[in-house]
């Protein structure tokens, strides 16, 4: 089951960014730049902090990400996260799986707020937008069916 939320593209920019310890990203002493991987990781961690977010990424990304993280490659914290990072601003796209029964708009707004707050606090970049796609719903028990032991043999 796939649902698309309409909670995309809301402006969440606040202040002038650069709130990470009140230090500017550019000064006479040199520039501070933040790689895309850093912003992706912060966004992924921040989104997962919000109650109601079960997982991130599309079905294929979750399957591949689960496999690669089990064998020690890849980082599932950036799964379902796309970013565009400039010198002072960042835009974030997130794909979420939300727990069934939670309000998708409320969870989306909470994710948007937390992601913007964390990125601005940690990187000093101003977040211009956080676009959210709700890709799936999680029903409790979905995982148990995947991990059920095989049935016992019917013949000895």
């Amino acid at each position: 089951m796939t649902e698309e939320s309409s909670a995309a593209g809301t402006e969440v920019a606040r202040g002038g960014g650069a709130s990470g310890g009140n230090a500017p990203l550019q000064s006479g002493r040199g520039t501070t730049t933040i790689a895309d991987a850093v912003v992706s990781k912060v966004a992924g961690i921040a989104a997962r902090e919000v109650p109601g977010v079960y997982n991130m990424g599309g079905g294929a990304a979750r399957a591949v990400g689960g496999f690669t993280s089990r064998i020690g490659f890849g980082d599932d914290r950036t799964q379902g996260v796309g970013v565009e990072v400039g010198e002072r601003e960042a835009a974030v796209d997130l794909t979420l799986v939300i727990e069934y029964g939670e309000s998708i708009p409320q969870v989306s707004n909470a994710v948007r707020d937390n992601v913007a707050k964390r990125i601005e606090g940690i990187t000093g970049l101003s977040v211009t937008e956080v676009n959210i796609t709700v890709n799936d719903l999680y029903f409790p028990g979905d995982e148990q069916t995947e991990e059920e032991p095989p049935p016992p043999p019917r013949v000895s």
Binding site: G21, G30, T33, A35, V38, K41
Partner: protein
């Protein structure tokens, strides 16, 4: 006509100011709390090469006026990064000043390439309930 005196065999050439600055910069940066490693991607990467020297995670390039621009490429913990960059600059500038190279140091650019987040440690099985230690074999209690 005067002849030049015979020269002693050339000792190993001292590292250039550029290589010294690279070493000082990355070594100082790695001492700052919050900086984990120089960024070492599997392919490519940022380094300063001199005669037989290869300093990873830092680029030092000459600028007009005899100064060198320093670029640090770092992996950090999840902390406010602009403030961390300022602490890195403070540390590098101090080390360079003590080495007598302050007049050669230009702007210090800091690029955070990746973050390291401590993953929660796997849940360990609970220890068995505390019970009095078993007596040594042959031990006889009074």
């Amino acid at each position: 006509m005067r002849e030049n005196p015979p020269q002693a065999p050339a000792a190993e050439a001292p590292p250039s100011d550029r290589v010294l600055l690279a070493r000082l910069a990355i070594e100082s940066a790695l001492k700052v709390d919050g900086v984990v490693d120089p960024h070492l991607p599997p392919v490519g990467g940022h380094s300063t090469r001199g005669a037989g020297v290869h300093v990873e995670g830092v680029t030092v390039n000459a600028s007009p006026g005899g100064i060198y621009d320093v670029g640090l490429h770092l992996v950090a913990r999840v902390v406010p990064l602009p403030a961390l960059a300022e602490r890195v600059r403070d540390r590098v500038e101090g080390a360079v000043r003590r080495a007598g190279l302050a007049e050669r140091l230009g702007p210090i650019s800091v690029r955070f390439e990746d973050l390291v987040e401590p993953r929660p440690s796997p849940v360990e099985p609970p220890e068995p309930a505390s019970s009095p230690p078993a007596p040594f074999p042959g031990h006889r209690s009074p």
